[in-house]
Symmetry: C2
Subunit: 335 residues, 2 copies
DNA sequence: TTGTAAGCGTTATCAA
DNA sequence: TTGATAACGCTTACAA
């Protein structure tokens, strides 16, 4: 049977409360007893039972994670999974555990806020969500500290990648290689990040005064490789084909490259391509795709630090956005 | 402030214990009061605080999940993530919540078993693990009900895909299309599943008495597309190239196909290819790869059902393997 | 500096 | 059929 704090206290001839204070680093205790207790605790492997701790204490050392409104998407999304992973590692190092917030607890349907109260979480991370979901709105405006790595809202601190910087890095590359004849292909701009990347592209294009040529920007119909393929065909049929294409999504780039190749263009000697995202498969693609990497590890860690800050300093939620830098990885579709 | 069971009791002029019994469906209660309480509980949204429940009750309605020994891999693995997702959905429907088991709780290093005791989990799922890890061995041989979707051990019930059936489906295809000139490419057979697939391949090949030709089986050096590419080059240089290749991994198949194409072979008209796994990218690959799908959803759900069975019927762990059927998806690398 | 004792919100046992 | 009451294991005022 597991040792309780009472067992430990008895064995050391102390009161349970003394043990508690020492284990939790609270109150004033003589260095000797502290050392004695710590030593014993260490060797006996005593750890306070978490449910008892949560019940009697204000703090639960637990952070709720809202992963998605649609429970079906769940852990499968590689990008957000990776963020979650680094978030988790960081908060665990700091003594917190994470739990997934769902709108069901046992057999009971409940709001996210109810859930947070029921579990007494210390804070919540919205790793992916929908700003119109009443459940989300409620938590964000509650007293719980909340940080997001996806949505932006009033009273919400968001940690995301710097989309403008990504496009800037693409331009830097073009400038460095002195390529002037380049264009961009973006996914549907209903997506915030696509819209932002496109915006920055247009801004820089004008800023540097490049020639728009036949057409310097294409927007796909969808998010898939197929929609990339379709645009690739269009581009292949141009009078003058660009030397370099920025594609704001790796998946779209895969299709686009195939189309270009089918029309006889060689990548990168005829046309260079830079993708965006660095998804898992990007490096296996042939030719390995040069792309903009989002530092998912940094997003997770930063979000964790910020959230723990709110929790530990007891600050109120605020509308803020923290940008994480991105990088260009040059692989085989550039030269 | 959240309502407690005492609030509910007061408001209904009943004892807390009565409420508890009703909410948990225990003891004998008159139909009238039961209805009255249930109605009130429903409308007021009362849900018992989980930590208090866990503290006072034997059952915790919590299942611990061991995802990986290396915390870094974590949620990123698409295959296991998907299993976890369906497992989670199922047990949540049945009233359980899942928590990740790590070897650290707060700042304390601890064994998986300690962890399970500390959290009083009702059972554990090993979604991915290492049979040599002492921590794993300990939990498996403990009194906790354990089920795995990866490793096989004494005292452990495992739910995995039927690798032999996968290879059988490949043969069925060849037989149906009356192709006799086919070969297999497998990844390193240090991996259990590769070994099993290879074994079944050899068995069936002999069973049907096919001609081994130049060489009917290739083993790659690694798990990557590159190692597939290398084998692809070897195959392309054969005197007589096969009509159909079974590749026991999609990732390896991607590289292999590229190599074949670079040597001028057309897929599928010259050579057909069937992969294995149906990873995310498989359908975006050009040409979309025909492959063997493992029904990850079924794995998760089945594992969940089995584990809850052990928990609720209080049975001891046993060495058993439950196989989940697989399927062949025909896409563009077969015809 | 240490100890006592009262909670935290449930469930479980036993009595009414 | 319902209700008191004692756990569950811990934290936290407050007292010593």
């Amino acid at each position: 049977m597991k040792k309780t704090i009472i067992d430990v206290a008895k064995e050391l001839n102390l009161a349970p409360s003394t043990i508690s204070k020492i284990v939790n680093n609270k109150g004033r205790i003589s260095p000797e007893t502290r050392a004695r207790v710590l030593k014993y605790v260490e060797s006996s492997g005593y750890v306070a039972m978490s449910s008892a701790r949560k019940l009697s204490s204000k703090k639960s050392w637990t952070i709720g994670v809202i992963y998605s409104d649609i429970s079906l998407v769940g852990f499968e999304h590689p990008f957000f999974s990776r963020i979650l992973q680094s978030f988790k590692s960081y908060v665990e190092k700091m003594g917190y555990e994470i739990v997934m917030i769902v709108s069901k607890l046992g057999k009971n349907e409940m709001t996210y806020l109810d859930w947070c109260q029921n579990k007494k979480v210390d804070g919540v991370l919205i790793i992916m969500g929908n700003i119109n979901n009443p459940n989300i709105i409620q938590v964000v405006n509650s007293d719980f500290p909340v940080v997001s790595t996806d949505i932006q809202m009033k009273n919400l601190h968001t940690v995301i990648c710097d989309d403008r910087m990504g496009v800037q890095k693409m331009f830097e590359y073009a400038l460095k290689k002195q390529i002037e004849n380049f264009i961009a292909v973006t996914g549907p701009i209903t997506s915030r990040s696509f819209a932002e990347r496109m915006h920055e592209f247009n801004r820089l294009f004008d800023f540097y005064g490049f020639d728009k040529g036949e057409q310097n920007l294409y927007i796909t119909n969808g998010f898939s490789s197929d929609s990339g393929y379709a645009i690739g065909e269009e581009i292949a049929k141009r009078k003058k084909v660009p030397k370099l294409i920025f594609v704001f999504s790796d998946v779209i780039a895969f299709g686009l490259i195939r189309a270009l190749e089918h029309h006889g263009y060689k990548i990168p000697s005829d046309i260079q391509v830079i993708g965006y995202d660095d998804i898992d498969f990007t490096k296996y693609f042939v030719p390995a795709l040069s792309t903009i990497v989002q530092d998912t590890k940094a997003i997770g860690t930063t979000a964790a630090k910020i959230l723990l800050g709110y929790i530990e300093e007891n600050r109120n939620n605020e509308h803020k956005v923290t940008y994480i830098p991105v990088d260009l990885i040059e692989r085989d579709t550039t030269e």
